[in-house]
Structures are given as C-alpha cells and as structure tokens.
C-alpha cells in the first residue's frame, strides 16, 4: 500500500508502529498533490515547507517517545475559510486574497496540540456561498470521479482532496450542506457535527447560527476519530457547548439490531430526485432492515418550506457578517475613492463576487424596514416549526435517513440559475435550521460512474448513534472503489 492511500486510522497506526515516518507520509501526499492538483484544482495553497518541517518535528517526538497524540504526524487539508496564523486565509474571495490571519482558529490550535499537520488550504465557493465550488474567485475545483463535473460545495476542495487521496483528512464547514453535499458528490464521508460541538472561533463567519466545522474522511471510523480530534468546549466561542463530549468511536462496530430509523415520505417524493439516487437510498433502507434495524416511513410536514426559510435567514445573517469588509482593517481596499462611503462601496464592489452580492441584497431586503416581519420574522417562525417536526421524529426514531442530494454530481456550468443551484441542498438545510448532526456516506455509484451518498441525521450530541448506524451500513454495502479521474481534457 502506498502511503497516500492510507486511511486516517491506517496512517495513525503505521506512524505508531513506526512502519512509516511522518516525513514519508507527508512527502507521499505532497507528491500525490503535485501529480493531480493541475487537473483537480482542489487547493488554494500547499503549505509544503511548513508541513515538511512539522513532519520532521513530529518524527523527532515519536522517536523520543513524546508523541503529542495518536494523530501526531498526520497531515490534513483545511478549508480556506478557517484561519491559519501566518498562512493566507482567502475564503476564495478577492476581498481577502492577501489576508494573513494573526491567530489560529480553535480547530487549528487543537491540531497543533495533537501534532496534526496543516498540509494545504482548500478551495471553496466564495465565503462558502454556493454548492459547486464554481463561485471561487480563484477558479473552479473538479470532481475526481469525473473532471467535467463539479465536486459540490461549498467545501468542494476539501471533498475532492480526500477523494483524490491528497490527504486522509480534511476540514470543511457546513452552513446548509457544504460538507455533506460535496461528500456525496465526491464519494467520501462528510459529517456536520451538532451545532456548538466544534468551536467556530477562527472560522470566517457566513451565517453564524448555522455554521459548523466538520471532517471529510474516506471511512466512517475515520470520521469518528476526526471528531475526537476537533470537538469540545472553547471559551472563545459563546455558542460552544460546555458539555460532556463522548468518545465518538464508542459505537463503531456495534450492531444496529432494534435501532429505529425513520424515513420521511416527503424526502423520497420530492420533485427533482433522480431515480438512481432514490433506488440507492431504498437499497440503504433495505440493508439496514437486513442488519436488524427497524426502518419505517414517517412524515416531516414542513420539509418543503425549509429551503426557503434557510435562504432568508442565512442571507440575513450573512449580510450582517459581511459588513465588516470595508477596506479599513484588513482585506482589499479600492484605490481611487472620494470619501469614506465611496471607499466602502468601491472596495466591496471590487472585492465581492456575484453570488455573495446576491445574498447580501436578499439579506438586506428581508431585514429592511417594512419587510422584516413578512420575511425574516416569518422564516424564524417556520424555523421553530421545523425544529418541532424534528423533535417529534426523534421521540420515535434514533436516526432519520434521506438522500444527501437529489442527483449525483452535475456537469460544470450546468446550473447557472441560482435557484437550481440552491435546490441541490434541499435535503441538507433542514438539519442546520434545527442544529442537528448529520452525515453523508457513499452508498453506490450511478450508471455514469458517479458516487451517490446517503444522509443520516441524529438529534443534537447523538453523533455516536449516527456513526454506529453509518459504520454498520458502510460495512454491509460494497465499497465504491477509487475515483477514476475520467472526463479530463488533459
């Protein structure tokens, strides 16, 4: 087995047993990146020098029996909206193209404390607004399974990097599905933790009441190990949960006999769901039944309203968060301006891309006097109803199952209408509205050779149950194999 092929668990074990050094592992991944990145374009920056230096230090610690953790020496890719001290964090936006954070995000401090190495910063839709990574100011990323298709988004670079074996672990952020949808498109495991389980300190804010950092891995067990590395209370995030955090790998390998899995009928009846994705989801349901779980059809009456409520609320929060980009404290500043307001306007006009402007316009519209009650407040009330629907479901079920996205990855450029793009997140956004945890794992391939994901949802802080179900399903389904890099023009 080549070093870059190792899963997170395999790499950690190999380092532990000194079968491989961190320098060898890191070099293998850098070589892999060197060979594939020109086609895949998953990364905004490769931190080659720092990563190799960190790998050497990790090897020294291991040699003297002073490893910081079981993960010491593991390289990981980090989405480029997570602050890395001394390394550019651009959000794939012109407005932050040269921004070098003066501090590390909490998750990066956690990485450093455990010896996990930041290998590269990954591409995203500008400020995480998008579902295809085509909205990046630095060019679109490609899907390793078919280079003419999108990797999904907004964490498309992280998903593509893990899929292409450029790293065994990548961090993304999920505001409305930005981890789970690209995981589904790229055939990897993507997990959005419970809101508040991972500190948002140093994650560049998009919609603060939804944003959550989470991992991409190639196996379910690796996702559990990654959560152990990043979840926990942080005093620098007032929404961080001061609670007991479990060993996330506790349920791995336990059976699912008697587990109750609910499938809201609205999810499988929705317009736009492809027959192949539907069949794949039904196969997952059948597999769970064969494993002894109790799978039942149920109902989620507010499902069809979630996407609209999500776009209203998240755009309102986004426009508030993005008001900080004014050309004064950091980031891009326009060159010619006449007074302070003109400085703001020209800076923002030049710095922000179309989709970001679209969300700010919507956000300011729904928050403006005269429309606040009709749109923003109404959406917040609908959010309450959605949460109540989920509460009812979790009185009865341990997990909810749905497709992750209505279709497999689509061709680059195919969704130029923003409304069509938004619909790719129809199954993932309700989870963020209710602050739940959810994950996508591969459950098959389409006739066109593209991965299809299945989506599992659990109530807050119940990742262990969800991972137990996901692991059982992963073990029972035939593996989808490795990406083929088809459809390239190179």
């Amino acid at each position: 087995m080549k070093a870059y092929e190792m899963t997170l668990k395999q790499a950690a074990q190999a380092l532990e047993r000194k079968e491989i050094s961190s320098v060898e592992l890191t070099q293998s991944l850098l070589d892999r990146i060197g060979g594939l990145e020109p086609q895949v374009r998953a990364l905004n920056a490769v931190c080659e020098t720092q990563a190799m230096e960190a790998a050497r230090k990790s090897d020294q610690r291991r040699a003297s029996g002073e490893a910081k953790s079981g993960m010491d020496g593991i390289p990981a890719v980090v989405k480029d909206n997570i602050c890395t001290e001394g390394t550019k964090t651009t959000c794939s936006s012109k407005i932050l193209a040269h921004f070098v954070p003066p501090y590390n995000a909490h998750v990066i401090e956690r990485f450093n404390a455990q010896g996990i190495i930041t290998l590269a910063k990954s591409n995203l839709d500008e400020f995480a607004m998008g579902s295809s990574t085509e909205n990046s100011a630095f060019g679109a990323s490609k899907n390793p399974w078919n280079l003419s298709c999108v990797p999904g988004g907004s964490s498309g670079g992280s998903a593509a990097a893990v899929s292409a074996q450029m790293a065994p672990l990548a961090l993304g952020s999920d505001t409305g599905g930005s981890i789970r949808q690209p995981a589904s498109y790229c055939g990897v495991v993507g997990l959005k933790p419970t809101y508040g389980a991972v500190s948002r300190y140093g994650l560049v804010a998009f919609a603060s009441s939804f944003d959550q950092i989470g991992p991409f891995t190639r196996t379910v067990e690796d996702a559990a190990l990654a959560l152990n590395a990043i979840c926990g209370y942080d005093k620098n995030d007032s929404t961080s949960m001061n609670a007991e955090y479990p060993d996330y790998a506790a349920g791995i390998g336990q059976d699912v006999k008697g587990m109750r899995i609910g499938v809201p009928k609205e999810y499988f009846a929705s317009e736009g769901l492809s027959e192949e994705v539907k069949a794949s989801g039904q196969n997952a349901m059948k597999t769970f039944e064969n494993l002894g779980a109790i799978v039942e059809e149920t109902t989620m009456p507010t499902f069809e309203y979630a996407l609209t409520a999500y776009y209203i609320i998240s755009s309102a929060e986004a426009t508030s968060n993005l008001s900080r980009y004014d050309g004064v404290k950091y980031g891009h500043r326009a060159e010619d301006f006449d007074g302070i307001v003109d400085l703001y306007v020209k800076t923002r006009n030049e710095g922000f891309g179309d989709e970001v402007k679209r969300r700010m316009m919507l956000g300011n519209y729904v928050l403006s006097s005269g429309y606040y009650d009709a749109y923003y407040l109404k959406a917040l009330k609908v959010r309450t109803l959605i949460k109540q629907d989920f509460d009812k479901l979790f009185d009865k079920y341990d997990c909810i199952l749905s497709p992750t996205a209505p279709t497999p990855a689509f061709a680059a450029g195919a969704k130029s209408d923003p409304m069509h793009m938004y619909l790719t997140d129809i199954y993932t956004v309700p989870v963020n509205l209710a602050g739940l945890t959810a994950m996508s794992l591969p459950c098959g391939l389409s006739s066109g050779g593209l991965p299809i994901g299945v989506h599992l949802i659990a109530k807050p802080m119940n990742e262990v149950t969800m991972l137990r179900a996901a692991y059982a399903l992963e073990q029972a389904l035939p593996p989808i194999g490795d990406p083929t890099f088809a459809g390239g023009d190179a």
Binding site: S209, S238, R333, N364, T384, M419
Partner: protein, 95 residues
Amino acid sequence: MQVPISEVEKIAVLSRLSLTEEEKKKHQHDLEEVLALAQRLNELDTTDVKPTAHIQGVENVLRADEIRPSMDNEKLTANAPERENGCFIVPKVVE
C-alpha cells in the same frame, strides 16, 4: 412579487454596493424569484409560534471580568491597507 428598481437601488445602498443598470435588473429578477417562493411560507400558520433566531436558546453568556493580554498591535494591524503608528488610516469622516 414585484420589486421596483427603486427598491433594488435602496437595498444596494444599504449593502454598500453600486450596481450597473444591467446588474440592477438581474438583482431585481433574482429577488423576485426568491420572494415568490418566500410567499409560500404563508401557507404555514404561525400564529402563536415563537421565532427561533438561535437554536440553543442561550442568552448572555458571561465570563469573569478579568485582565488578559491583548493581541499584539503590530500583528493585528499588519493586514491593514493603510496604517500609521498602530492606527488604521481612513479618509476624513467628519468635516
């Protein structure tokens, strides 16, 4: 749901953006499309339903008022487009 161009212009001012005539039309179309969908939320009866702005329902997370070191000024202002003596430089704001 009709959004007059004058409304688009007002929102652009609030957003600190300036739009070309063509961009105004595009934003008008996009806003109208989303707002048409938003009308559908009225199918749900939300009488007596409390709004959820934040899912955890936490309020006023407080910490002890203690003195801690600040972040280094040089480091913090290093990203500023224009700075002098540890301060941000802006155009004259008050005449």
